[in-house]
């Protein structure tokens, strides 16, 4: 799937929704709970569930990235039960730099 910043996607097997914050130049396969992420308006099966072992969950407001490559960044805009992954490798939290409130 070709991604660009601002693209919004949803899981087919849980309530997870994400927004692409940073997109890599090359195409990449994104999944949640083992099933491909699809566009927000795509029809999905009502009875989907994350695959075994791919059910660690997503947290609202957290940013996820690949452990060894920060060219991809997804913001979770709705939490769910599945595990986010890129090319089959689970994504990790991006550590946020704490800034003091300025306005």
């Amino acid at each position: 799937m070709e991604l660009k910043a601002g693209t919004r996607l949803r899981s087919q097997v849980c309530t997870t929704e994400v927004m692409v914050v940073k997109a890599p130049a090359n195409e990449i396969e994104l999944t949640c709970g083992g099933a491909a992420l699809v566009s927000l308006d795509a029809a999905i099966a009502a009875d989907g569930a994350p695959a075994a072992g791919l059910d660690t969950g997503t947290q609202l407001g957290k940013r996820y990235t690949a452990a060894d490559d920060d060219s991809l960044e997804l913001l979770v805009t709705k939490a769910g039960a599945g595990t986010l992954a890129a090319a089959g490798v689970p994504l990790v939290f991006k550590e946020a730099k704490a800034l003091p409130a300025s306005d």
């Binding site: 910043a5 914050v21 709705k78 800034l99 003091p100 409130a101 300025s102 306005d103």
Partner: protein, 502 residues
């Protein structure tokens, strides 16, 4: 990357928390989302192209900002003190404006001929209107359009796109990071970019906002104590009035942890007195422009403490710096022919990043081919990357071929105990090109004269920085957010000179 997503996240992640007002009966994040959707439906039902707010800062501000986003229209808070003719002129630059105005300003607003609702009417309608689906707009559509403060020229309109504002928030705020009992006190007027920033960053971090629309030092200190305020943003004139009011006493601010300041130059004596008046509070200097979606650099509490404790003059000087760029923002200092300058060299500040709009209505984008925006601020970066702002390029005075930034002379003047406020301007002169005139407001109960002030400045700065003349005034003109209206000072002094020679 639409603004609406920030509100959706806040409502689902921390819906029961109070977003606006008093801790015991304020509006929750979930309620704000309902009000915004209802307000969006009210707006979408009308044949309008732009949403305008004319009112004091308060819960209407986030309500209307997100209602406009819901309806897919740009939002513009405007200066509510403008007379009808100026208001009509500025509104003429907006597409079919729909205005929500506080009751106090309705008479003036009705003279403009545009559709108007009072704040009460709008809030009531939003409560009773069935929400419609949010109108989809592209990420590149303008979410907010702000008039620049116009200190040196006619105000220009800056469009801030959804992607600019969302990038700013994602780059600088961690979602839900505020503690349950955090509260921010907001005193800037709604038409200042920091007021937009405060709506979005407090919402995204989950922090309750308390408003003080009509600033007074007593009122500010009272609210800080009563509402258990933890963070507060002020412009320098507000902090100056607070420390004058305290007159050396330590403030009663039991929960206050952070004061951020910005919007204009902070006089060092005011900052030093504030640090003493709020010994347990961290200070943040935030630097940004309307065109950059608020803050692009900040000097944090640790930087303030390190600079205060430093013995090395270079480190000590960082107390007057704007700190380092926020994530996602790059900076360069360039000279007039575009050469990128090294550490400690003064030139124009250029910035780049997804939060930078760099665009004006009727002018278009002023970004260069590589996406860099010229701030028109003269600045330098020290060897460790700390940013120092000298002032607007337009303010530079050229005396005898030498470029002089008025700010350094103004800083020297206000460090004199008898000087409450000072502006240094260039007045046309046959011999020097421009002469340096210092316009000074004396502090009550103190005495000084022109010769003393001139020699005081000569003792601190190079001889070419000594004012050629001192003019006395009882006050100086400022914008409501504390920016000196330099062109009015120049006009005032020129008028006096013309009267003397005619």
């Amino acid at each position: 990357m639409s603004l609406g997503i920030l509100l959706d996240m806040a409502a689902s992640g921390q819906g029961d928390r109070v977003a606006l007002g008093r801790a015991d009966d304020g509006i929750t994040f979930a309620r704000l989302a309902e009000l915004a959707a209802g307000g969006g439906a009210v707006i979408a039902a009308q044949p309008v192209g732009h949403v305008v707010m004319l009112g004091r800062n308060g819960p209407l501000m986030p309500h209307l900002l997100f209602a406009a986003a819901h309806a897919g229209l740009p939002f513009t808070p405007m200066n509510y003190r403008l007379p009808a003719d100026q208001l009509t002129e500025l509104l003429g630059d907006l597409d079919r404006p729909f205005i929500v105005a506080d009751e106090d300003y309705l008479t003036v607003v009705k003279q403009t001929g545009h559709p108007v609702m009072s704040t009460t009417e709008f809030v009531t309608a939003a409560q009773s209107t069935t929400p419609t689906e949010a109108v989809y707009v592209d990420d590149s559509a303008p979410a907010v359009m702000l008039f620049t403060s116009g200190t040196t020229s006619k105000p220009k309109i800056v469009p801030l796109r959804h992607e600019n504002l969302v990038s700013y928030i994602l780059g600088t705020v961690e979602f839900g990071s505020a503690a349950e009992d955090d509260a921010a006190l907001v005193t800037v007027p709604p038409y200042h970019v920091a007021a937009i920033g405060s709506v979005l960053s407090n919402l995204y971090s989950g922090r309750r906002v308390v408003y003080l629309p009509d600033f007074s030092a007593e009122g500010w200190l009272a609210l800080v104590a009563e509402e258990n305020v933890t963070t507060a943003m002020v412009v320098p004139t507000m902090l100056s009035r607070v420390v004058e009011h305290l007159a050396g006493a330590v403030a009663n601010a039991p929960k206050l942890r952070l004061i951020s300041y910005g919007g204009a130059r902070m006089p060092q004596p005011v900052l030093e007195r504030a640090l003493a008046a709020f010994p347990n509070v961290g200070f943040v200097n935030a630097y940004g422009l309307t065109e950059t979606s608020s803050t692009i650099a900040l000097l944090g509490p640790d930087d303030h403490r390190a600079a205060l404790a430093a013995t090395d003059p270079k480190e000590r000087a960082r107390l007057g710096s704007a700190g380092k760029p926020v994530p996602g923002v790059e900076m360069q200092v360039r000279d007039d022919d575009g050469t990128v300058l090294g550490p400690d060299e003064v030139g124009e500040l250029w910035v780049r990043g997804p939060q930078v709009s760099g665009e004006y209505v009727g002018v278009g984008s002023v970004l260069d081919a590589d996406g860099w925006f010229p701030t028109k601020d003269r600045a330098w970066l020290d060897a460790e990357g700390y940013l120092f702002i000298e002032g607007r390029s337009d303010d530079t005075i050229i005396r005898g071929g030498e470029n002089i930034a008025p700010a350094e002379i103004e800083d020297a003047l206000v460090s004199h105990p008898a000087v409450l406020d000072a502006a240094v301007i260039g007045i046309d002169d046959d011999e020097w090109g421009q002469r340096l005139v210092a316009v000074v407001v004396r502090r009550e109960g103190f005495a000084t004269d022109a010769d003393e002030l001139k020699s005081y400045v000569r003792g601190q700065l190079r001889g070419s920085r000594t004012p050629d003349a001192i003019v006395w005034r009882t006050e100086l003109p400022h914008t409501p957010t504390g920016k000196l209206l330099r062109r009015e000072v120049v006009a005032d002094v020129n008028a006096e000179l013309a009267a003397l020679t005619s």
